[in-house]
Subunit: 372 residues, 2 copies
């Protein structure tokens, strides 16, 4: 198992965590939500066009559960045609013995598969206009997700929490900067050319509005520069950890925003939480997850060593060129499957290829065959 | 443990089932939904007034999770002031180690606590007008709940499925009669005076419309005389059992409707499913669960032996006089807690009293002190 896992930061604690969750009872949660911020051209390639990014979270979940989408014709792809990381997550969940649930924190479209809804779910607004969430919504979502975390924690040892929110690294940057961290230039991107300048401009515009306030609470920051997903994940973590459950935050640099929210809430996460991500994130030259996370909350970072470099499929080889990198909890789900169910990297890569070939035969992938 | 449990029907199989689920991994699901049928005066006392019954499912769930309601001031009570059986279920879940989730199949009000939603959820119409569910909805709900059952079945051995749907025995009667069973006069009631004649009149009115159709599919029957909850439970059972999970149908006579739906779907439930209910149901003189169930699907019936006859609280003593009887999976949840967590009847009764006294101190129970 261990050979598939890269202990990227705080090795000793990371290994201890991994040893503790072997043959434990796991549950995976995938939190989805939308922010209009993803429709700003250039911010997100988690969809074929800026407006298509609004449909991505629901399409990801329909595909994850059913193997096909219901709300639109195809699974989410980048403008180049590279498929969503949900392909990886679905392949893993097929061979792992991990139950999973979807949590809708504010998806633009309600997925056409069963999902847990937070009563105060809401699509996020443009953070450039300081409209992250409507007034009063952040605290409600936090409470509701904390309750959910507590309710589902019985009989569970470890929970993997993934996300699907296009524009998420930009709102995460907003949350971290708004809460006082020098996160500029450190978040990753789903594209090989990380649009740091654009992200910074978007956040700075919202920040200008926020800074006119004399006093800024945690919720003021989220409601200006945040989104529905990161606050929901923070609430889940709070509820789960209060009941003794361990957590794998299954995502890249944006999980820094979750940690930044947890900090003022005084959640004791030491020894109880790790970040589980992909090789593509920890080896990314255009971002720095270790520098980012270590300045917020010194938690271990673990990465799964996927390797698609020899794939016969164009759409998977492009993952090795800096496209997509992470999402829908791909890295953390792989780590959990590997540790808990003894699934090997070879098993996962074979299953991803089978899944990819199935999608191709369904006609759901139009990029394959391109040569650029 | 066994002394709290009444093996009411098919003892041998029932005992085998119980032995098989000892120290297994359990999950409880509470399926909620509304039908306008409950607003027909006299049909349901699961609410302070006929129209209040529409709010009962969501209030039950808010109270179950939070210990208080958010959408209205008080927990659901009968017109006499007797509290919802959610009081029993909540008390059990507090001391049992069973995780649980709410499934919204079509509640009039969305509960203000996290719940799983079925994408095609819908409030049911008046079955007297043959408007149980809109055209096409029953098959969609069945598919969605079956998918949900499959998704959550990993790592789980047994699932307890309870319900909260005022008017549920009337729509259950409709479903059973519509599917060809002579269920007249056999369903129970939440009141001591079972309004069989009224229920029969309501069902016969709808049946008249249905019988004008030459061919009647399962879904035609549900969409005329059914509701969103029983078809959802059937779908869950189908999905769960197909993945090898055992099921406790936690409810009274209305679970006959679930069995009647499962029959034409060819679900192999032999040895995999029991009905888990309360003493008040199996000893009810105004209904006959054994006669009813045995004519549909010969499954074991198990009951938990609650005894509130010596309670210092009026609202609990009235349970012994034929009020309420069952609901929110009270009986099946008690059976599961007893078998899986070794919780005794004494523990449960003590915890119910603590919960009741807490509600009284919150001012949530207005009936207490009445002498009728």
């Amino acid at each position: 198992m261990s050979k598939n896992i890269i202990f990227a930061y705080r090795d000793k604690e990371a290994k201890e965590f991994i040893n503790n969750i072997r043959s434990s009872r796991a549950l995976a949660l995938y939190v989805i939500g939308s922010t209009l911020t993803s429709t700003i051209p250039g911010i997100s390639i988690a969809g074929a066009s800026p407006s298509a990014t609004l449909y991505t979270p629901s399409l990801d979940m329909e595909y994850l559960i059913l193997g096909r989408t219901l709300s639109r014709n195809t699974i989410p792809i980048t403008p180049e045609g590279i498929p969503t990381p949900a392909v990886i997550t679905r392949a893993i969940l097929k061979i792992a013995n991990i139950p999973y649930l979807i949590i809708n924190a504010g998806s633009y479209l309600e997925p056409k598969v069963p999902s847990i809804v937070l009563p105060s779910r809401r699509v996020g607004g443009l953070i450039s206009k300081c409209e992250g969430l409507a007034k009063g919504v952040a605290s409600k979502i936090l409470k509701e997700s904390e309750i959910l975390g507590k309710t589902i924690s019985k009989g569970i040892d470890v929970v993997i929490i993934g996300e699907s929110i296009p524009g998420g690294t930009t709102t995460a940057l907003g949350i971290m900067v708004g809460l006082g961290y020098k996160a500029w230039g450190l978040v990753s991107s789903s594209g090989p050319r990380n649009p740091h300048k654009l992200k910074e401009r978007v956040v700075r515009e919202g920040l200008k509005v926020l800074n006119k306030k004399l006093k800024k609470s945690l919720f003021d920051v989220i409601e200006c520069l945040g989104d529905p997903v990161h606050i929901s994940i923070a609430g889940l973590v709070k509820g789960l950890i209060s009941n003794g459950v361990k957590v794998i935050l299954a995502g890249g640099t944006q999980m820094g925003a979750v940690l930044a929210i947890l900090k003022p809430l005084n959640t004791k996460i030491k020894g109880k939480l790790v970040i589980g991500t992909t090789k593509w994130i920890v080896r990314d030259n255009s971002s720095d997850i270790i520098k980012l996370i270590s300045m917020i909350y010194d938690v271990p970072i673990i990465a799964f060593n996927f390797d698609f470099s020899k794939s016969k499929y164009w759409g998977l080889r492009y993952y090795e060129k800096g496209y997509v990198k992470e999402g829908v909890g791909a890295g953390g789900t792989a780590i959990a499957a590997s540790v808990i169910n003894d699934v090997s990297a070879e098993d996962i890569i074979r299953e991803v290829h089978e899944e990819y070939s199935r999608l191709l035969s369904m006609g759901g992938l139009h990029g394959e065959g391109k040569t650029y």
